[in-house]
């Protein structure tokens, strides 16, 4: 017998003494606030206050140097509308996110399902997946730069085996972004695997077995039983990966530095450049706020759509 079940039985055997004196609504209010306050206070102090602060900065001219920060109204936002690189960066950011998020979720789900069984070396496989998260981005970048090197890389070697001519990859403005997509999917696969593995523990084997008894194929069972039960985890992953993808920076910084010809300039990389290379911190803050709005809208849509498709058992 297991703990919660035992506890439950014990409790059910001895009827509640004070049940009649409970005042659910008020106490629930109080408990809710009491539970969230410590954590939320920290997040608001270190998260929300700086966000309001940088909102103010987006209406200022601020080079971080002189200490003078005159208000310029909407000037930074107007500049942004006429900046062709911002338009390019928005496009790259969206293309990247649209490929990276589903790509990572599909690879992660597939591997998590493969690893959700008791076979030999399974601890090793799972640790390998987790390990991709632990490795530093710089090591990851160095290895991918090598793999995709046009002259010496392994990828072009494999392509040549099947008769495809060598590609320019990071040297090609039309391919570089896709190499970054591949690199980051690799880097985040472990994360998706770990999340899906945790969620798969909540799928009752009984339901899966029952479907099998009813004659459903494994694929049908997966699609009709497992996948819906994983939907809260999928929503979580979709939101989390999207928030991170729209703020891509490290991999670009460590490999292409936004090039070639701005082909991998995404919004956060561009605002970093504006802040710490061109010393336009006010402008960088405005771009950050523009990005904030994008993320807010995308995330809100995800939650809205998610609510319709997410299956919570409660």
């Amino acid at each position: 017998m297991t703990a919660p079940a035992a506890l439950l039985r014990k409790r059910l055997e001895s009827p509640p003494a004070r049940a009649g004196r409970r005042r659910p609504r008020a106490s629930e209010q109080l408990a809710g606030w009491a539970f969230v306050t410590p954590g939320v206070a920290i997040i608001l102090l270190f998260g929300a206050v700086p966000i309001v602060w940088s909102a103010v900065m987006s209406f200022q001219r601020n080079n971080l140097l002189t200490g003078k920060t005159p208000y310029v109204g909407l000037r930074n936002y107007r500049l942004m509308l006429h900046d062709p690189v911002v338009a390019q960066a928005v496009q790259h950011t969206f293309v990247y996110t649209a490929l990276f998020v589903p790509g990572t979720m599909i690879v992660g789900l597939f591997l998590a399902v493969a690893m959700n069984r008791k076979i030999r070396f399974i601890s090793f496989y799972r640790t390998a997946a987790y390990a991709t998260m632990a490795i530093s981005t710089i090591s990851e970048a160095i290895v991918f730069i090598w793999l995709f090197d046009p002259s010496y890389g392994v990828v072009n070697y494999f392509l040549s085996l099947v008769g495809i001519p060598p590609q320019q990859f990071l040297n090609s403005p039309s391919q570089a972004l896709y190499v970054i997509v591949a690199m980051t999917i690799w880097g985040w696969t472990g994360f998706a695997v770990v999340i899906y593995l945790a969620a798969l523990q909540g799928v009752p084997q009984m339901l899966v077995d029952a479907a099998a008894v009813d004659g459903a194929s494994k694929w049908t069972t997966f699609r009709r039983v497992t996948l819906p039960l994983l939907s809260p985890a999928s929503l979580f992953l979709a939101v989390w990966l999207t928030i991170n993808a729209l703020q891509l920076f490290d991999e670009v910084f460590l490999s292409t530095q936004g090039g070639p010809l701005n082909a991998t300039t995404v919004l956060v990389y561009y605002l970093y450049e504006q802040a710490f290379v061109n010393f336009n911190f006010g402008y960088a803050s405005a771009i950050a706020y523009f990005l904030f709005l994008i993320i807010l809208v995308v995330t809100a849509i995800q939650f809205r759509v998610g609510r319709r498709f997410t299956y919570y058992r409660s």
Binding site: G67, I145, D149, T256, F276, N278
Partner: protein, 441 residues
């Protein structure tokens, strides 16, 4: 931690783990608190805080010099903190805004025109004219970069320049004579073609193409040597859209696009290791790379010239500065005293011998001294001599980063075969004019 108390077998195991983890935290927390109490408190003397990015031999040499200084100046402590040079700007700007800058920071020379606008940065104009400093003993390239609008805001920390490092073995295999001091870009292009061997995946030369300042300054040497300028006097308009600019761009294009003799490195990371692996014949690079080529026999030659132009043999230098931040008069005085000692001839001599870095003072670079340096790092003497070919600096203006980005994209688009040199030049010059007009207005 009630979540640990499951009650079943697994719960017992987690319980045990939880106790272990909790006791670890308490123990480690106590250890950390203990150290918190011990920090701070500078006593009677001065503690100079300095943020530097030295690694390897440079880190050892710096620690040695600091200990010597502390022995000679009892009561003064030099507290140095390693900050990767690439990260220093972010850390310094944050600290300045938070009101707690260090006393001294190592900052890239390319940041100087912007750093000069920080009110806390100490004006060193009078300090460097003081007795015994001998400011003119620093190379002209260094003084140019430490000076913004006539105000000295830094003391030279490191100097370098670009020259050609070539693989002697590959030259011999191709039946080529090693480059001589009077060589030309035409020879460079021809040699690069002959050194290229697609079957062996061997390239004549390489170029870094992320479009960053590293892409740009390599091209700027060619521009100067062809007799061109980056901006017109007054720094209000582009000057590189000239026949000289075209010649510089066309020369690179011929190798990258026409001859395929140039390995393009979009990440600025693989080229040095490729050279060290005998896959590249010649590299235009700086003295820092010499120690990265242990596996090949390499020689160093000054940059080739464009015959028939006024440019001659030139190079570009990217010096870095020590910058002092005002934390009160006595702190500033202590910081100045330390830096002047650190950059005095005796210490410069020690530094260059220990690290292979080029001497930051002319007087130190005597022929006998260069021979001594060359013993441990063959070819470094050419880089020192080449400092004499530094005739100009990049424009010392706050909007240079913007100019650099435009030129970077121009060079990359030509090297990738995406645009023709003349069209790229015209478009870039126009963009630079607009950017300069916007920043002036």
């Amino acid at each position: 931690m009630a979540w640990i108390r499951g009650g079943n077998e697994d719960g017992m195991r987690t319980h045990w783990l939880g106790v272990a983890a909790a006791s670890c935290v308490v123990a480690l927390g106590l250890a950390a608190c203990g150290s918190d109490a011990s920090s701070g408190g500078s006593g009677g003397g001065h503690t100079i805080s300095i943020w530097e990015g030295w690694t390897g031999a440079e880190a050892k040499a710096f620690a040695h010099l600091v200990s010597v200084y502390q022995k000679q100046n009892p009561g003064t402590t030099v507290s140095s903190l390693y900050v990767n040079n690439d990260n220093t700007l972010q850390k310094v700007l944050t600290a300045v805004r938070g009101g707690s800058p260090p006393d001294i920071a190592y900052l890239y020379g390319s940041w100087a025109p912007n750093v000069a606008q920080i009110p806390q940065v100490v004006n060193l104009t009078k300090v460097v004219q003081g007795p015994g400093v001998n400011w003119n003993d620093f190379w002209v390239g260094e003084r140019d970069v430490a000076t913004v609008n006539g105000k000295v805001i830094g003391i030279p920390a490191l100097v370098d320049n670009l020259a050609v490092v070539y693989n002697k073995t590959l030259f011999a295999q191709a039946g080529l004579a090693p480059p001589g001091p009077g060589w030309t870009w035409q020879q460079f292009v021809a040699d690069a073609a002959k050194l290229t061997n697609p079957a062996k995946k061997q390239f004549g030369t390489a170029y870094v193409t992320p479009g960053s300042e590293d892409t740009v300054w390599h091209w700027e040497v060619l521009l100067w040597e062809a007799g061109g300028q980056i901006l017109k006097p007054g720094n209000k308009q582009a000057a590189f859209g000239s026949p000289a600019g075209l010649q510089a761009l066309t020369t690179l294009r011929q190798m990258a696009v026409t001859n395929h003799s140039m390995y393009l490195d979009p990440t600025d990371s693989a080229y040095a290791n490729l050279f060290n692996s005998g896959k590249i014949g010649m590299l235009v690079t700086g003295p820092w790379d010499l120690s990265a080529f242990p596996n090949v026999h390499d020689g160093v030659q000054i940059m080739p010239a464009f015959p028939g132009t006024s440019g001659g043999h030139q190079t570009i230098s990217g010096p870095d500065n020590w910058v002092i931040f005002n934390n009160g008069a006595s702190q500033t005085a202590a910081a100045e005293k330390f830096l002047l000692w650190l950059t005095a001839p005796a210490q410069v001599k020690y530094w260059s011998l220990a690290t292979g870095d080029l001497p930051i003072r002319r007087s130190v670079a005597a022929p006998s001294f260069l021979q001594a340096m060359n013993k441990s790092l063959p070819g470094v003497d050419t880089f020192v001599t080449n400092l004499g070919n530094v005739h100009q600096a990049r424009p010392q203006i706050a909007s240079y980063p913007k100019v650099s980005q435009i030129i970077g994209n121009m060079v990359v688009s030509v090297l990738l075969g995406k645009s023709q040199p003349q069209a790229a030049l015209n478009s870039a010059a126009q963009q630079v004019n607009q950017a300069l007009a916007a920043s002036n207005g």
